[in-house]
Protein backbone atom coordinates (compact mmCIF):
# COMPACT_ATOMS: atom_id res chain seq x y z
CA UNK A 1 0.00 0.00 0.00
CA UNK A 2 2.86 2.38 0.64
CA UNK A 3 4.91 1.49 -2.37
CA UNK A 4 6.49 4.46 -4.09
CA UNK A 5 6.65 4.79 -7.85
CA UNK A 6 8.44 7.37 -9.91
CA UNK A 7 7.80 7.48 -13.64
CA UNK A 8 9.83 9.63 -16.01
CA UNK A 9 10.65 12.09 -13.22
CA UNK A 10 12.79 15.04 -14.25
CA UNK A 11 14.11 18.05 -12.35
CA UNK A 12 15.51 21.24 -13.76
CA UNK A 13 16.79 24.28 -11.89
CA UNK A 14 16.13 26.98 -14.44
CA UNK A 15 17.38 25.38 -17.63
CA UNK A 16 19.91 23.25 -15.84
CA UNK A 17 18.78 19.62 -15.70
CA UNK A 18 19.81 17.94 -12.46
CA UNK A 19 17.79 14.74 -12.68
CA UNK A 20 16.55 13.01 -15.82
CA UNK A 21 14.54 9.93 -16.64
CA UNK A 22 13.98 8.58 -13.14
CA UNK A 23 11.94 5.38 -13.32
CA UNK A 24 11.89 3.66 -10.01
CA UNK A 25 9.66 1.70 -7.76
CA UNK A 26 10.22 1.08 -4.09
CA UNK A 27 8.26 -1.73 -2.51
CA UNK A 28 6.28 -1.65 0.70
CA UNK A 29 8.66 -1.82 3.66
CA UNK A 30 11.77 -1.71 1.52
CA UNK A 31 14.96 0.06 2.65
CA UNK A 32 16.12 1.95 -0.41
CA UNK A 33 19.36 3.93 -0.53
CA UNK A 34 20.03 6.71 -3.02
CA UNK A 35 23.77 6.65 -3.54
CA UNK A 36 25.95 8.77 -5.78
CA UNK A 37 28.70 11.35 -6.03
CA UNK A 38 28.02 14.93 -4.95
CA UNK A 39 25.97 16.82 -7.48
CA UNK A 40 24.10 13.75 -8.69
CA UNK A 41 20.80 15.08 -7.36
CA UNK A 42 20.15 12.36 -4.80
CA UNK A 43 19.05 14.84 -2.16
CA UNK A 44 16.93 16.70 -4.68
CA UNK A 45 15.21 13.45 -5.57
CA UNK A 46 14.48 12.80 -1.90
CA UNK A 47 13.17 16.34 -1.44
CA UNK A 48 10.89 15.89 -4.42
CA UNK A 49 9.41 12.81 -2.78
CA UNK A 50 9.04 14.79 0.46
CA UNK A 51 7.27 17.57 -1.40
CA UNK A 52 9.65 20.41 -0.55
CA UNK A 53 10.98 20.51 -4.09
CA UNK A 54 8.67 20.65 -7.09
CA UNK A 55 8.73 17.98 -9.76
CA UNK A 56 9.52 19.46 -13.18
CA UNK A 57 8.10 16.56 -15.16
CA UNK A 58 6.97 12.99 -14.57
CA UNK A 59 4.79 11.41 -11.95
CA UNK A 60 5.29 10.51 -8.30
CA UNK A 61 2.97 8.01 -6.66
CA UNK A 62 2.92 7.04 -3.03
CA UNK A 63 0.58 4.23 -2.08
CA UNK A 64 -0.83 4.20 -5.58
CA UNK A 65 -1.83 7.84 -5.51
CA UNK A 66 -0.35 10.69 -7.50
CA UNK A 67 1.40 13.05 -5.12
CA UNK A 68 2.96 15.66 -7.40
CA UNK A 69 0.83 18.49 -6.01
CA UNK A 70 -0.05 17.18 -2.58
CA UNK A 71 1.45 19.32 0.21
CA UNK A 72 4.29 17.66 2.15
CA UNK A 73 2.37 17.24 5.37
CA UNK A 74 -0.30 15.18 3.61
CA UNK A 75 2.06 12.71 1.94
CA UNK A 76 2.42 10.63 5.11
CA UNK A 77 6.18 10.96 4.89
CA UNK A 78 8.61 12.03 7.62
CA UNK A 79 12.07 13.35 7.02
CA UNK A 80 15.32 13.42 8.96
CA UNK A 81 17.53 16.25 7.77
CA UNK A 82 21.29 16.24 7.41
CA UNK A 83 21.71 19.04 9.98
CA UNK A 84 18.73 17.68 11.97
CA UNK A 85 16.71 20.92 11.53
CA UNK A 86 15.47 20.86 15.10
CA UNK A 87 13.56 23.99 16.09
CA UNK A 88 16.11 25.73 18.32
CA UNK A 89 13.55 27.54 20.44
CA UNK A 90 11.52 24.44 21.34
CA UNK A 91 12.28 21.72 23.86
CA UNK A 92 12.91 18.18 22.68
CA UNK A 93 9.33 17.31 23.60
CA UNK A 94 7.94 20.30 21.70
CA UNK A 95 10.09 19.47 18.68
CA UNK A 96 8.64 15.99 18.49
CA UNK A 97 5.10 17.12 19.28
CA UNK A 98 5.04 20.04 16.85
CA UNK A 99 3.87 18.14 13.78
CA UNK A 100 1.20 16.30 15.75
CA UNK A 101 -0.09 19.56 17.16
CA UNK A 102 -0.40 20.97 13.66
CA UNK A 103 -2.45 17.90 12.75
CA UNK A 104 -4.73 18.59 15.74
CA UNK A 105 -3.89 15.28 17.39
CA UNK A 106 -5.49 14.96 20.85
CA UNK A 107 -3.18 16.04 23.64
CA UNK A 108 -3.13 12.72 25.41
CA UNK A 109 -2.20 10.91 22.25
CA UNK A 110 0.60 13.37 21.49
CA UNK A 111 1.96 12.80 24.93
CA UNK A 112 1.77 9.05 24.64
CA UNK A 113 3.37 8.96 21.17
CA UNK A 114 6.22 11.29 22.08
CA UNK A 115 7.03 9.32 25.23
CA UNK A 116 6.91 6.07 23.33
CA UNK A 117 9.34 7.39 20.71
CA UNK A 118 11.58 8.80 23.43
CA UNK A 119 11.63 5.41 25.11
CA UNK A 120 12.60 3.61 21.91
CA UNK A 121 15.38 6.11 21.25
CA UNK A 122 16.46 6.30 24.90
CA UNK A 123 16.10 10.07 25.07
CA UNK A 124 13.49 10.20 27.83
CA UNK A 125 15.70 12.21 30.22
CA UNK A 126 16.26 14.84 27.53
CA UNK A 127 12.64 15.73 26.80
CA UNK A 128 12.74 19.11 28.54
CA UNK A 129 16.07 20.21 27.09
CA UNK A 130 16.66 22.58 24.22
CA UNK A 131 18.45 21.31 21.11
CA UNK A 132 21.53 23.41 21.82
CA UNK A 133 22.02 21.54 25.09
CA UNK A 134 22.33 18.22 23.26
CA UNK A 135 25.28 16.43 21.72
CA UNK A 136 25.35 15.61 18.02
CA UNK A 137 24.23 12.05 18.59
CA UNK A 138 21.37 13.13 20.86
CA UNK A 139 20.18 15.67 18.29
CA UNK A 140 20.22 12.92 15.73
CA UNK A 141 17.99 10.80 17.93
CA UNK A 142 15.57 13.65 18.46
CA UNK A 143 15.40 14.21 14.72
CA UNK A 144 14.59 10.55 14.24
CA UNK A 145 12.10 10.74 17.10
CA UNK A 146 10.33 13.60 15.39
CA UNK A 147 9.94 11.36 12.36
CA UNK A 148 8.78 8.32 14.34
CA UNK A 149 5.98 10.05 16.25
CA UNK A 150 4.21 10.87 13.03
CA UNK A 151 3.88 7.15 12.21
CA UNK A 152 4.66 7.82 8.57
CA UNK A 153 4.32 5.40 5.69
CA UNK A 154 7.72 6.49 4.40
CA UNK A 155 10.81 7.59 6.30
CA UNK A 156 13.10 9.90 4.38
CA UNK A 157 16.70 10.27 5.58
CA UNK A 158 18.92 12.93 4.01
CA UNK A 159 22.55 12.07 4.81
CA UNK A 160 21.58 11.71 8.46
CA UNK A 161 24.96 10.52 9.71
CA UNK A 162 27.31 12.83 7.86
CA UNK A 163 27.56 15.32 10.75
CA UNK A 164 28.60 12.69 13.27
CA UNK A 165 32.10 11.50 14.07
CA UNK A 166 33.21 8.14 12.72
CA UNK A 167 32.56 6.01 15.81
CA UNK A 168 29.10 7.43 16.42
CA UNK A 169 28.28 7.04 12.75
CA UNK A 170 28.74 3.26 12.90
CA UNK A 171 26.69 3.11 16.08
CA UNK A 172 23.79 5.16 14.69
CA UNK A 173 23.91 3.14 11.48
CA UNK A 174 23.11 0.02 13.47
CA UNK A 175 20.33 1.84 15.28
CA UNK A 176 18.75 2.95 12.04
CA UNK A 177 18.89 -0.64 10.83
CA UNK A 178 17.21 -1.78 14.06
CA UNK A 179 14.62 0.92 13.70
CA UNK A 180 13.74 -0.29 10.24
CA UNK A 181 13.28 -3.76 11.66
CA UNK A 182 10.95 -2.41 14.36
CA UNK A 183 8.92 -0.32 11.91
CA UNK A 184 9.03 -2.83 9.10
CA UNK A 185 5.70 -1.74 7.63
CA UNK A 186 7.17 1.64 6.63
CA UNK A 187 9.41 2.12 3.62
CA UNK A 188 12.69 3.95 4.05
CA UNK A 189 14.48 6.12 1.53
CA UNK A 190 17.96 6.99 2.64
CA UNK A 191 20.33 9.34 0.87
CA UNK A 192 24.06 9.02 1.33
CA UNK A 193 27.33 9.49 -0.49
CA UNK A 194 28.96 6.85 1.70
CA UNK A 195 29.00 3.46 0.04
CA UNK A 196 29.68 1.65 3.31
CA UNK A 197 26.44 3.01 4.75
CA UNK A 198 24.64 2.04 1.58
CA UNK A 199 26.02 -1.50 1.56
CA UNK A 200 25.27 -1.98 5.24
CA UNK A 201 21.71 -0.71 5.24
CA UNK A 202 20.12 -1.11 1.88
CA UNK A 203 17.69 -3.67 0.56
CA UNK A 204 18.07 -1.82 -2.68
CA UNK A 205 20.58 0.72 -3.88
CA UNK A 206 19.78 3.32 -6.50
CA UNK A 207 23.11 4.55 -7.81
CA UNK A 208 22.85 7.93 -9.50
CA UNK A 209 25.36 9.50 -11.82
CA UNK A 210 26.23 13.17 -12.20
CA UNK A 211 27.30 15.37 -15.05
CA UNK A 212 26.47 15.61 -18.73
CA UNK A 213 25.91 11.85 -19.06
CA UNK A 214 22.49 12.14 -17.44
CA UNK A 215 21.05 13.63 -20.59
CA UNK A 216 22.01 10.66 -22.77
CA UNK A 217 21.93 7.85 -20.23
CA UNK A 218 19.50 9.13 -17.60
CA UNK A 219 20.34 9.77 -13.96
CA UNK A 220 20.08 6.20 -12.78
CA UNK A 221 23.28 4.24 -13.30
CA UNK A 222 21.99 1.03 -11.74
CA UNK A 223 19.33 -0.22 -9.38
CA UNK A 224 19.79 -3.40 -7.43
CA UNK A 225 20.65 -5.18 -4.23
CA UNK A 226 24.00 -4.13 -2.73
CA UNK A 227 25.82 -7.35 -3.69
CA UNK A 228 24.35 -7.25 -7.16
CA UNK A 229 25.89 -3.81 -7.70
CA UNK A 230 29.17 -5.02 -6.25
CA UNK A 231 29.45 -8.25 -8.18
CA UNK A 232 27.60 -7.38 -11.34
CA UNK A 233 28.14 -3.68 -12.07
CA UNK A 234 26.32 -2.75 -15.24
CA UNK A 235 28.83 -0.20 -16.44
CA UNK A 236 32.18 1.45 -15.79
CA UNK A 237 30.61 4.15 -13.58
CA UNK A 238 29.04 1.68 -11.17
CA UNK A 239 32.14 -0.53 -11.21
CA UNK A 240 34.36 2.42 -10.37
CA UNK A 241 32.05 3.95 -7.76
CA UNK A 242 31.45 0.93 -5.54
CA UNK A 243 34.31 -0.77 -3.77
CA UNK A 244 37.28 0.55 -1.89
CA UNK A 245 39.96 0.78 -3.07
CA UNK A 246 38.32 1.29 -6.39
CA UNK A 247 38.34 -1.32 -9.19
CA UNK A 248 41.46 -1.47 -11.36
CA UNK A 249 40.86 -0.84 -15.04
CA UNK A 250 43.21 -2.04 -17.77
CA UNK A 251 42.87 -1.46 -21.52
CA UNK A 252 42.77 -4.69 -23.53
CA UNK A 253 41.89 -6.10 -26.93
CA UNK A 254 39.69 -9.10 -27.60
CA UNK A 255 41.68 -12.19 -28.54
CA UNK A 256 38.79 -14.61 -28.77
CA UNK A 257 35.09 -13.98 -28.10
CA UNK A 258 32.75 -16.86 -27.45
CA UNK A 259 29.45 -17.14 -25.65
CA UNK A 260 31.07 -19.15 -22.88
CA UNK A 261 33.98 -16.82 -22.24
CA UNK A 262 36.24 -14.17 -23.70
CA UNK A 263 40.00 -14.07 -23.90
CA UNK A 264 41.63 -10.64 -23.89
CA UNK A 265 45.20 -9.54 -24.43
CA UNK A 266 46.60 -6.79 -22.26
CA UNK A 267 49.12 -4.19 -23.41
CA UNK A 268 51.79 -6.09 -21.55
CA UNK A 269 51.14 -9.01 -23.89
CA UNK A 270 49.64 -11.17 -21.18
CA UNK A 271 46.34 -12.90 -21.93
CA UNK A 272 43.48 -13.45 -19.50
CA UNK A 273 40.18 -15.22 -19.89
CA UNK A 274 37.05 -13.61 -18.48
CA UNK A 275 33.82 -15.45 -17.76
CA UNK A 276 31.46 -13.22 -19.71
CA UNK A 277 29.24 -13.74 -22.71
CA UNK A 278 31.22 -12.55 -25.72
CA UNK A 279 28.41 -12.61 -28.23
CA UNK A 280 28.61 -9.49 -30.32
CA UNK A 281 32.30 -8.89 -29.60
CA UNK A 282 34.63 -8.99 -32.59
CA UNK A 283 38.20 -10.16 -32.38
CA UNK A 284 40.46 -7.17 -31.95
CA UNK A 285 37.79 -4.97 -30.36
CA UNK A 286 39.02 -2.57 -27.70
CA UNK A 287 37.63 -3.34 -24.26
CA UNK A 288 38.35 -2.44 -20.64
CA UNK A 289 39.21 -5.15 -18.18
CA UNK A 290 38.17 -4.54 -14.60
CA UNK A 291 39.60 -6.36 -11.61
CA UNK A 292 38.86 -5.44 -8.01
CA UNK A 293 42.00 -5.10 -5.82
CA UNK A 294 40.69 -7.81 -3.49
CA UNK A 295 40.40 -10.24 -6.42
CA UNK A 296 44.05 -9.97 -7.37
CA UNK A 297 45.39 -13.08 -5.71
CA UNK A 298 49.09 -13.82 -5.74
CA UNK A 299 49.78 -16.78 -7.98
CA UNK A 300 51.29 -19.92 -6.57
CA UNK A 301 54.78 -20.67 -7.84
CA UNK A 302 55.16 -21.87 -11.42
CA UNK A 303 51.59 -21.59 -12.52
CA UNK A 304 51.34 -20.75 -16.21
CA UNK A 305 48.49 -18.87 -17.87
CA UNK A 306 45.76 -16.58 -16.38
CA UNK A 307 48.45 -14.55 -14.65
CA UNK A 308 49.62 -10.97 -14.84
CA UNK A 309 52.97 -9.91 -13.49
CA UNK A 310 53.65 -6.45 -12.10
CA UNK A 311 56.43 -4.82 -10.12
CA UNK A 312 55.41 -3.67 -6.64
CA UNK A 313 56.18 0.04 -6.23
CA UNK A 314 55.03 0.58 -2.67
CA UNK A 315 53.32 -1.27 0.13
CA UNK A 316 50.84 -0.19 2.79
CA UNK A 317 50.44 -2.66 5.65
CA UNK A 318 47.27 -2.54 7.74
CA UNK A 319 47.90 -5.72 9.67
CA UNK A 320 44.74 -7.49 8.60
CA UNK A 321 45.48 -6.83 4.94
CA UNK A 322 47.96 -4.94 2.79
CA UNK A 323 47.80 -2.78 -0.30
CA UNK A 324 50.38 -3.37 -2.99
CA UNK A 325 50.79 -0.42 -5.34
CA UNK A 326 51.75 -1.94 -8.70
CA UNK A 327 53.55 -0.46 -11.64
CA UNK A 328 51.14 0.13 -14.50
CA UNK A 329 50.91 2.13 -17.70
CA UNK A 330 47.69 3.79 -16.48
CA UNK A 331 47.72 7.04 -14.51
CA UNK A 332 45.30 5.71 -11.87
CA UNK A 333 46.86 3.70 -9.06
CA UNK A 334 46.83 -0.03 -9.68
CA UNK A 335 46.30 -1.77 -6.38
CA UNK A 336 46.22 -5.32 -5.16
CA UNK A 337 44.68 -5.99 -1.76
CA UNK A 338 46.22 -9.08 -0.21
CA UNK A 339 45.52 -10.61 3.15
CA UNK A 340 48.13 -10.64 5.88
CA UNK A 341 51.44 -8.82 5.98
CA UNK A 342 53.41 -7.91 2.89
CA UNK A 343 56.89 -7.24 4.17
CA UNK A 344 59.81 -6.68 1.83
CA UNK A 345 57.69 -6.85 -1.30
CA UNK A 346 58.58 -3.44 -2.69
CA UNK A 347 60.61 -3.63 -5.88
CA UNK A 348 59.77 -7.27 -6.57
CA UNK A 349 57.87 -8.49 -9.59
CA UNK A 350 54.82 -10.42 -8.48
CA UNK A 351 52.50 -12.65 -10.47
CA UNK A 352 48.77 -12.41 -9.78
CA UNK A 353 46.14 -14.87 -10.81
CA UNK A 354 42.69 -13.29 -11.08
CA UNK A 355 39.86 -15.78 -11.42
CA UNK A 356 37.99 -15.63 -14.70
CA UNK A 357 34.61 -15.17 -13.04
CA UNK A 358 35.75 -12.29 -10.85
CA UNK A 359 37.00 -10.23 -13.79
CA UNK A 360 34.76 -7.72 -15.49
CA UNK A 361 34.76 -6.65 -19.09
CA UNK A 362 33.36 -3.40 -20.47
CA UNK A 363 32.83 -2.58 -24.14
CA UNK A 364 33.88 0.67 -25.73
CA UNK A 365 30.67 2.39 -24.62
CA UNK A 366 31.50 1.48 -21.02
CA UNK A 367 28.68 -1.08 -20.69
CA UNK A 368 29.46 -4.35 -18.93
CA UNK A 369 29.35 -7.63 -20.84
CA UNK A 370 26.96 -10.05 -19.13
CA UNK A 371 28.57 -12.52 -16.78
CA UNK A 372 28.07 -16.21 -17.38
CA UNK A 373 25.78 -17.89 -14.94
CA UNK A 374 28.19 -19.12 -12.30
CA UNK A 375 28.64 -22.86 -12.42
Amino acid sequence: MTSITLAGVTKKFGNQPVLAGIDLSIADGEFCVFLGPSGCGKSTLLRMIAGIETITAGELQIGGQTMNDVPPAERRVAMVFQNYALYPHMSVFENMAFGLRQAKTPKAEIDQRVREAARILQIEPLLERLPRQLSGGQRQRVAIGRAIVRKPDVFLFDEPLSNLDAALRVHMRTEIANLHRDFSQASVIYVTHDQTEAMALADKIVLLRAGADILTKGSIAQIGAPLELYHRPKNLFVAGFLGSPTMNFLPATVEAAKTDGVTVRLESGEALSVAVDGAGLAKGARVTLGIRPEHLEMAAEAVAGQTITHTVEAVENFGEYSYLYLQSPMPAPFIAKVSGDAVGMAGRAVAFQPLAHSCHLFDEAGEALPHLASA
Binding site: G51, P72, A73, Y87, F98, Q102
Partner: protein
Protein backbone atom coordinates in the same frame (compact mmCIF):
# COMPACT_ATOMS: atom_id res chain seq x y z
CA UNK B 1 56.01 43.12 28.19
CA UNK B 2 57.57 44.83 31.21
CA UNK B 3 60.27 46.46 29.09
CA UNK B 4 57.54 48.20 27.16
CA UNK B 5 55.84 49.59 30.22
CA UNK B 6 57.19 53.09 29.63
CA UNK B 7 56.47 53.34 25.91
CA UNK B 8 54.57 56.46 24.80
CA UNK B 9 51.40 54.42 24.31
CA UNK B 10 51.39 53.33 27.95
CA UNK B 11 51.30 56.95 29.06
CA UNK B 12 49.15 58.43 26.32
CA UNK B 13 46.37 55.89 26.71
CA UNK B 14 45.37 56.65 30.32
CA UNK B 15 45.85 60.38 29.76
CA UNK B 16 43.59 60.43 26.71
CA UNK B 17 41.11 58.14 28.41
CA UNK B 18 40.80 60.36 31.45
CA UNK B 19 40.70 63.52 29.35
CA UNK B 20 37.69 62.31 27.40
CA UNK B 21 36.11 61.06 30.58
CA UNK B 22 36.26 64.65 31.83
CA UNK B 23 34.83 66.00 28.56
CA UNK B 24 31.95 63.54 28.77
CA UNK B 25 31.12 63.75 32.43
CA UNK B 26 31.79 67.39 33.37
CA UNK B 27 28.63 68.66 31.67
CA UNK B 28 26.63 66.01 33.54
CA UNK B 29 28.22 67.01 36.82
CA UNK B 30 27.47 70.66 36.06
CA UNK B 31 23.82 69.79 35.42
CA UNK B 32 23.36 67.75 38.57
CA UNK B 33 25.20 70.19 40.84
CA UNK B 34 23.41 73.24 39.51
CA UNK B 35 20.04 71.55 39.72
CA UNK B 36 20.64 71.11 43.46
CA UNK B 37 21.40 74.80 44.02
CA UNK B 38 19.03 77.62 44.73
CA UNK B 39 18.59 80.36 42.21
CA UNK B 40 20.49 82.81 44.46
CA UNK B 41 23.44 80.46 44.72
CA UNK B 42 23.85 80.35 40.94
CA UNK B 43 24.20 84.12 40.85
CA UNK B 44 26.38 84.47 43.92
CA UNK B 45 28.80 81.51 43.79
CA UNK B 46 31.08 80.33 40.97
CA UNK B 47 29.70 77.48 38.84
CA UNK B 48 32.15 74.89 40.12
CA UNK B 49 31.24 75.53 43.75
CA UNK B 50 29.50 72.62 45.41
CA UNK B 51 25.85 73.22 46.30
CA UNK B 52 25.63 74.74 49.79
CA UNK B 53 23.14 72.10 50.77
CA UNK B 54 21.29 69.31 49.00
CA UNK B 55 18.33 71.29 47.87
CA UNK B 56 15.72 69.13 46.18
CA UNK B 57 13.11 71.84 45.95
CA UNK B 58 13.68 72.20 42.21
CA UNK B 59 12.99 68.52 41.72
CA UNK B 60 9.92 68.63 43.91
CA UNK B 61 8.58 71.56 41.99
CA UNK B 62 9.10 69.78 38.67
CA UNK B 63 7.62 66.52 39.89
CA UNK B 64 4.57 68.32 41.21
CA UNK B 65 4.04 69.77 37.75
CA UNK B 66 3.12 67.74 34.69
CA UNK B 67 6.31 65.67 34.62
CA UNK B 68 4.49 62.39 35.13
CA UNK B 69 1.98 63.24 32.40
CA UNK B 70 4.85 63.69 29.93
CA UNK B 71 6.40 60.45 31.16
CA UNK B 72 3.13 58.56 30.83
CA UNK B 73 2.61 59.87 27.29
CA UNK B 74 6.13 58.83 26.33
CA UNK B 75 5.65 55.34 27.73
CA UNK B 76 2.32 54.89 25.93
CA UNK B 77 3.46 56.26 22.57
CA UNK B 78 6.77 54.42 22.55
CA UNK B 79 5.39 51.05 23.65
CA UNK B 80 2.56 51.10 21.11
CA UNK B 81 4.91 52.27 18.35
CA UNK B 82 7.56 49.67 19.13
CA UNK B 83 4.96 46.89 19.27
CA UNK B 84 3.59 47.87 15.86
CA UNK B 85 7.12 48.23 14.47
CA UNK B 86 8.07 44.75 15.65
CA UNK B 87 5.03 43.08 14.16
CA UNK B 88 4.84 44.89 10.83
CA UNK B 89 8.56 44.89 10.16
CA UNK B 90 9.03 41.23 11.06
CA UNK B 91 6.13 40.24 8.81
CA UNK B 92 7.53 42.25 5.92
CA UNK B 93 11.03 40.94 6.59
CA UNK B 94 9.79 37.34 6.50
CA UNK B 95 8.13 37.88 3.13
CA UNK B 96 11.21 39.62 1.74
CA UNK B 97 13.66 37.10 3.14
CA UNK B 98 11.87 33.82 2.61
CA UNK B 99 8.86 33.94 0.32
CA UNK B 100 9.64 33.69 -3.35
CA UNK B 101 7.91 36.36 -5.38
CA UNK B 102 9.06 38.46 -8.26
CA UNK B 103 9.02 41.89 -6.60
CA UNK B 104 11.01 40.84 -3.52
CA UNK B 105 14.31 42.33 -4.68
CA UNK B 106 13.09 45.74 -5.88
CA UNK B 107 10.71 46.12 -2.97
CA UNK B 108 13.47 45.43 -0.47
CA UNK B 109 15.73 47.98 -2.17
CA UNK B 110 12.94 50.56 -2.14
CA UNK B 111 12.13 50.07 1.54
CA UNK B 112 15.80 50.22 2.49
CA UNK B 113 16.25 53.41 0.45
CA UNK B 114 13.70 54.91 2.84
CA UNK B 115 16.51 55.04 5.42
CA UNK B 116 18.12 58.09 3.82
CA UNK B 117 14.93 60.12 3.42
CA UNK B 118 15.27 63.21 5.64
CA UNK B 119 12.27 63.05 7.92
CA UNK B 120 11.82 66.80 8.03
CA UNK B 121 10.61 66.69 4.45
CA UNK B 122 7.55 64.76 5.49
CA UNK B 123 6.89 67.11 8.38
CA UNK B 124 4.50 69.55 6.71
CA UNK B 125 2.39 66.99 4.82
CA UNK B 126 2.25 64.76 7.90
CA UNK B 127 1.20 67.78 9.97
CA UNK B 128 -1.61 68.59 7.51
CA UNK B 129 -2.65 64.94 7.34
CA UNK B 130 -2.73 64.64 11.13
CA UNK B 131 -4.87 67.75 11.34
CA UNK B 132 -7.27 66.36 8.75
CA UNK B 133 -7.49 63.04 10.56
CA UNK B 134 -8.42 64.82 13.77
CA UNK B 135 -5.40 63.38 15.57
CA UNK B 136 -3.64 66.72 16.03
CA UNK B 137 -2.56 67.33 19.61
CA UNK B 138 -3.11 63.76 20.76
CA UNK B 139 -0.30 61.36 21.69
CA UNK B 140 -1.64 59.02 19.00
CA UNK B 141 -0.71 61.50 16.30
CA UNK B 142 2.89 60.40 16.83
CA UNK B 143 2.43 56.66 16.36
CA UNK B 144 1.96 56.67 12.57
CA UNK B 145 5.03 58.77 11.75
CA UNK B 146 7.10 56.99 14.40
CA UNK B 147 6.30 53.55 13.02
CA UNK B 148 6.75 54.56 9.40
CA UNK B 149 10.09 56.26 9.94
CA UNK B 150 11.38 53.26 11.89
CA UNK B 151 10.24 50.66 9.39
CA UNK B 152 13.03 50.88 6.77
CA UNK B 153 15.86 50.20 9.21
CA UNK B 154 13.82 47.58 11.08
CA UNK B 155 12.85 45.72 7.92
CA UNK B 156 16.48 45.85 6.86
CA UNK B 157 17.81 44.41 10.13
CA UNK B 158 15.18 41.69 10.35
CA UNK B 159 15.43 40.68 6.69
CA UNK B 160 19.17 40.19 7.10
CA UNK B 161 18.46 38.24 10.25
CA UNK B 162 15.83 35.97 8.76
CA UNK B 163 17.94 35.24 5.71
CA UNK B 164 20.29 33.42 8.06
CA UNK B 165 17.69 31.03 9.45
CA UNK B 166 18.52 27.62 7.96
CA UNK B 167 16.28 26.62 5.08
CA UNK B 168 15.80 23.17 6.62
CA UNK B 169 13.82 24.58 9.54
CA UNK B 170 11.33 25.97 7.09
CA UNK B 171 11.18 22.64 5.28
CA UNK B 172 10.79 20.71 8.51
CA UNK B 173 7.88 22.97 9.41
CA UNK B 174 6.39 22.41 5.96
CA UNK B 175 6.57 18.66 6.56
CA UNK B 176 5.04 19.21 9.97
CA UNK B 177 2.05 20.73 8.24
CA UNK B 178 2.61 24.48 8.57
CA UNK B 179 1.60 27.02 5.95
CA UNK B 180 3.43 30.33 5.47
CA UNK B 181 1.55 32.01 8.29
CA UNK B 182 2.28 29.32 10.85
CA UNK B 183 5.89 29.07 9.70
CA UNK B 184 6.25 32.79 10.35
CA UNK B 185 4.49 32.86 13.68
CA UNK B 186 5.76 29.58 15.15
CA UNK B 187 9.27 29.46 13.73
CA UNK B 188 10.60 32.73 12.31
CA UNK B 189 9.11 35.20 14.77
CA UNK B 190 10.39 33.38 17.89
CA UNK B 191 13.73 32.63 16.25
CA UNK B 192 14.26 36.31 15.41
CA UNK B 193 14.26 37.30 19.07
CA UNK B 194 17.80 38.74 19.01
CA UNK B 195 16.98 40.74 15.88
CA UNK B 196 13.71 41.90 17.38
CA UNK B 197 15.53 42.99 20.53
CA UNK B 198 17.93 45.06 18.44
CA UNK B 199 15.05 46.65 16.56
CA UNK B 200 13.18 47.38 19.79
CA UNK B 201 16.21 48.88 21.56
CA UNK B 202 17.36 51.00 18.64
CA UNK B 203 13.97 52.38 17.70
CA UNK B 204 12.83 52.63 21.30
CA UNK B 205 15.74 54.92 22.19
CA UNK B 206 15.50 56.94 18.99
CA UNK B 207 11.77 57.53 19.44
CA UNK B 208 12.04 58.12 23.18
CA UNK B 209 14.27 61.10 22.40
CA UNK B 210 12.41 62.23 19.27
CA UNK B 211 11.76 65.95 19.21
CA UNK B 212 10.53 67.47 15.98
CA UNK B 213 7.42 65.38 15.23
CA UNK B 214 6.36 65.53 18.85
CA UNK B 215 6.90 69.28 18.79
CA UNK B 216 4.86 69.85 15.64
CA UNK B 217 2.07 67.31 16.05
CA UNK B 218 1.16 68.10 19.66
CA UNK B 219 0.75 71.42 21.38
CA UNK B 220 -0.64 71.07 24.88
CA UNK B 221 1.49 69.77 27.75
CA UNK B 222 -1.10 67.10 28.61
CA UNK B 223 -0.43 65.41 25.28
CA UNK B 224 3.29 65.85 24.89
CA UNK B 225 6.17 63.42 25.35
CA UNK B 226 9.16 63.69 27.66
CA UNK B 227 11.67 65.52 25.44
CA UNK B 228 9.14 68.34 25.20
CA UNK B 229 8.94 68.55 28.97
CA UNK B 230 12.31 70.32 28.89
CA UNK B 231 11.15 72.58 26.08
CA UNK B 232 7.93 73.52 27.83
CA UNK B 233 9.54 73.97 31.26
CA UNK B 234 12.18 76.13 29.65
CA UNK B 235 9.48 78.50 28.50
CA UNK B 236 7.84 78.35 31.89
CA UNK B 237 10.93 78.91 34.10
CA UNK B 238 13.01 80.91 31.66
CA UNK B 239 15.27 82.46 34.33
CA UNK B 240 15.31 79.65 36.89
CA UNK B 241 18.38 77.77 35.70
CA UNK B 242 18.47 75.20 38.54
CA UNK B 243 14.85 74.26 37.86
CA UNK B 244 15.47 73.83 34.13
CA UNK B 245 18.51 71.67 34.79
CA UNK B 246 16.47 69.62 37.25
CA UNK B 247 14.10 68.89 34.37
CA UNK B 248 17.04 67.96 32.15
CA UNK B 249 18.22 65.52 34.82
CA UNK B 250 14.80 64.04 35.39
CA UNK B 251 13.96 63.53 31.72
CA UNK B 252 17.32 61.88 31.08
CA UNK B 253 17.01 59.61 34.07
CA UNK B 254 14.66 56.90 32.70
CA UNK B 255 16.97 55.96 29.83
CA UNK B 256 20.04 56.14 32.03
CA UNK B 257 18.40 53.74 34.48
CA UNK B 258 17.51 51.34 31.67
CA UNK B 259 21.04 51.72 30.38
CA UNK B 260 22.49 50.91 33.77
CA UNK B 261 20.60 47.61 33.68
CA UNK B 262 21.57 46.48 30.19
CA UNK B 263 24.50 48.52 28.85
CA UNK B 264 26.04 45.90 26.57
CA UNK B 265 22.72 45.12 24.92
CA UNK B 266 21.91 48.76 24.39
CA UNK B 267 25.32 49.68 23.00
CA UNK B 268 25.19 46.72 20.64
CA UNK B 269 21.60 47.43 19.69
CA UNK B 270 22.39 51.05 18.87
CA UNK B 271 25.34 49.95 16.78
CA UNK B 272 23.55 47.23 14.85
CA UNK B 273 20.69 49.62 14.29
CA UNK B 274 22.93 52.23 12.74
CA UNK B 275 25.11 49.95 10.70
CA UNK B 276 23.23 49.74 7.51
CA UNK B 277 24.67 48.18 4.36
Amino acid sequence: MSSRSLSPGRIAIPVLGLFWLAVTTLPFIFVVFTSLKTQQETYANPVWALPESLNFSNYLEVLQGLFFTYLKNSVIVISISVAIILITSSMAAYALARLKFRLAGPLFALIVAGMIVPLHITLVPVYLMTRDMGLYDTPFALIGPYVATSLPISVFILTEFMRQVPKELEEAALLDGCGPFKIFWKIFFPLSRPGLATVAIYNGIMLWNEFIFAYVLTSSPQNRTLPLAIWDFQGQYSANIPAILAVVTLTSLPLIIVYAIGQERIVNGMMAGSLKG
